[in-house]
């Protein structure tokens, strides 16, 4: 019985390695201009996403992939802001929280349908992002990081203290499953298709931005703001737009999260969560649109896998992250295949060198 459980685990773990490797094949050099167009490979990945839960019909795997999909939406928005526009945000979890609480309050307290709450969450997160972004986006570098961090903490305190509205530290329970015109997403499999469907849509949207004028303006702002304004790019506006878009993604992800977990409590939106999302973006590869998705899948799976080791999980987790950052400094979504070849070559040469010395 125990043996069989082990086997199931291995099968599932293998699954995660295969798409990661495939993701890495997309772009050994994602910077080439023509590589930014949609290719047949993208269709292949879409097919893999559609078929994966049917082949591995394990509910735990489905649930994990639902979470990975939600985190990927969040990381995708942050990746546009961090990886492309070159800004730092450590308060992104707050927008996720705003989305989750908007949905929780509207559905559990006021009986609105989740579909309406989804749009309300997206709008409220982006409206708040617009209001605070107008002032804090004038800051740069570490100062921006600190300001966004402060915003995240203020949000947490407000949620914990306003007990009447948010239920304080206990949170809000009993959020209904997501449903559209009577069709309820009540199993993990249905939720999988919901989140990954939304993610696919947002991915196409983001890739359209990245390969066009908007993406060029973002990269220009990241590289040199003086040069960007010298060709007529409105730098503050570009930053604000992408900040609001990232917040809208986060609000949408938060709404889905609330519906999937059926609770919203402040623990889910702490600083640790922000760091996790930032790690997904960095591990996946800054300035690579496939990166946040690869990073989200990897980290979600890693956390679940390591939870078996209980108290050792955090040390192992951190060591793995350090190793990944050493060997994949450009992100796993960018250079996996190049690096693997490099490593094989390195060891082969090392053997030869050692033999030569002997």
């Amino acid at each position: 019985m125990v043996e069989q459980k082990e086997k199931e685990f291995r099968k599932r773990d293998l699954f995660f390695l295969v798409p990661l490797w495939l993701l890495s094949l997309i772009a050994p050099d994602p910077y080439l201009y023509h590589k930014k167009e949609f290719k047949k490979k993208d269709l292949f990945y879409l097919g893999a996403i559609c078929l994966a839960p049917l082949i591995w019909s394990d509910p735990h795997f489905h649930h994990l992939m639902v979470l990975a999909g939600i985190y990927a939406i969040l990381a995708l928005g942050l990746s546009l802001f961090m990886g492309y526009a070159g800004q730092i945000s450590l308060g992104h979890a707050a927008f996720f929280g705003i989305g989750a609480y908007t949905t929780a309050i509207l559905t559990a307290h006021h009986g609105f349908p989740p579909f309406v709450a989804l749009w309300a969450s997206t709008l409220s997160a982006s409206a708040i992002a617009y209001l605070i972004g107008r002032s804090i986006l004038k800051l740069k570098g570490y100062f921006l990081a600190l300001a966004t961090l402060g915003f995240g903490e203020i949000f947490l305190v407000m949620v914990r203290e306003s007990t009447d509205l948010t239920g304080g530290v206990i949170g809000i329970f009993g959020i209904p499953w997501f449903s559209v015109i009577g069709f309820s997403f009540d199993t993990y499999l249905k939720q999988y298709y919901l989140t990954w469907g939304v993610l696919t849509g947002l991915f196409i949207f983001s890739k359209n931005l990245v390969r066009s004028k908007v993406g060029r303006a973002l990269l220009a702002v990241a590289a040199s703001e003086d040069a960007a304004s010298s060709v007529g790019i409105n730098v503050p506006r570009v930053k604000l737009e992408i900040f609001v878009l990232g917040a809208a993604f986060a609000g949408l992800a938060g709404s889905l999260f609330a519906c999937v977990m059926s609770t919203a409590n402040p623990e889910a939106f702490s600083l640790g969560f922000t760091v996790l999302i930032v790690m997904m973006v960095i591990l996946g590869g800054m300035g690579n649109i496939y990166g946040p998705i690869a990073g989200a899948i990897l980290l979600t799976w890693l956390m679940d896998f390591l939870s078996r080791y209980q108290e050792y999980s955090l040390p192992i987790y951190s060591v793995l992250l350090i190793l990944l950052l050493i060997f994949f400094p450009d992100g796993i979504g960018t250079r996996l295949n190049v690096r693997v070849i490099y490593l094989i070559g390195y060891w082969a040469k090392k053997k030869k060198r050692d033999e030569g010395k002997l």
């Binding site: 359209n208 066009s212 004028k213 990269l219 040199s224 040069a227 304004s229």
Partner: protein
């Protein structure tokens, strides 16, 4: 009427007067050179025109419109393009994207229309790519259109920066030391290119240390020294102006004194 007119502009840094009541005009369709010893305030003047810095007093007019209080991108939107003394290309993009990003102000449409890839976005992006390739072709950079801009050699990066400024179709082009760091053949090509730009109807205002080049291509030359405008006129006239000779010679003498 002149395209750009600067009236009694003053700029101080911590009590040091970088520019002192400087007034000059750039006529439409001309090539105007700005020279002067190091620290004369040439780059400061350029920063003030392009809006990176604001003057303490004085007025800058472009096409008879007061632009003194406008933000840099608003000035570029009016048609002022520039290159930088310290090279400022976008190394995180490909060569062709650098040029296409330079067209930013001419491409219409907001974030949502690009995200949903509306039909007219597709055509405008295609046209932008085609036009960018034409610009690269005219600069002899077409062979490298897909490589990263940071991988180009220095001289080519300089050309790319010029191409980017041209891509925004400016009416006034500010060139901050375009020839610095270039080889002699590259400087010759550059002079040719600048004359060609003028024939296409663009007014050029350039700061340059390479005297041979300025004297050859400029219609008019202004000389700055210690933040003051000491001479203005044709290259021949400026060459013979005693104050200009004095400014350059005293500086040279001082340098020699310092060495001794």
């Amino acid at each position: 009427m002149s395209l750009l007119s600067i009236e009694a502009i003053t700029k101080e840094y911590d009590g040091i007067r970088a520019l002192d009541r400087v007034s000059l005009k750039v006529e439409k369709g001309s090539i105007k050179g700005l020279i002067g010893p190091n620290g004369a305030g040439k780059s400061t003047l350029f920063h003030l025109i392009s809006g990176v810095e604001k003057p303490d007093s004085g007025k800058i007019c472009f096409k008879e419109k007061n632009i003194t209080s406008l933000a840099p991108h608003e000035r570029s939107a009016l048609g002022i393009g520039r290159t930088f003394q310290t090279l400022q290309i976008w190394g995180n993009m490909t060569v062709v994207e650098n040029i296409m990003a330079g067209m930013d102000r001419r491409l219409k449409g907001n974030l949502l229309s690009y995200g949903f890839w509306l039909p007219w976005i597709r055509t405008s992006e295609k046209e932008a790519l085609k036009e960018a390739k034409e610009i690269l072709d005219s600069l002899d950079l077409l062979g490298k259109w897909e490589s990263m801009a940071s991988q180009l050699p220095y001289g080519k990066q300089k050309l790319l920066e010029l191409g980017r400024a041209l891509a925004m179709k400016p009416e006034l082009l500010l060139l901050d030391e375009p020839a610095s760091g270039l080889t002699l053949t590259e400087i010759e090509q550059l002079s040719e290119r600048i004359s060609q730009i003028r024939q296409e109807g663009v007014t050029v205002f350039l700061v340059e240390h390479h005297m041979g080049m300025v004297m050859e291509i400029a219609d008019e030359i202004a000389v700055l020294h210690n933040g003051e405008l000491i001479a203005e006129g044709t290259p021949e006239g400026v060459k013979k102006n005693p104050r200009v000779i004095d400014a350059y010679l005293t500086r040279r003498n001082r340098n020699q004194d310092a060495q001794n």
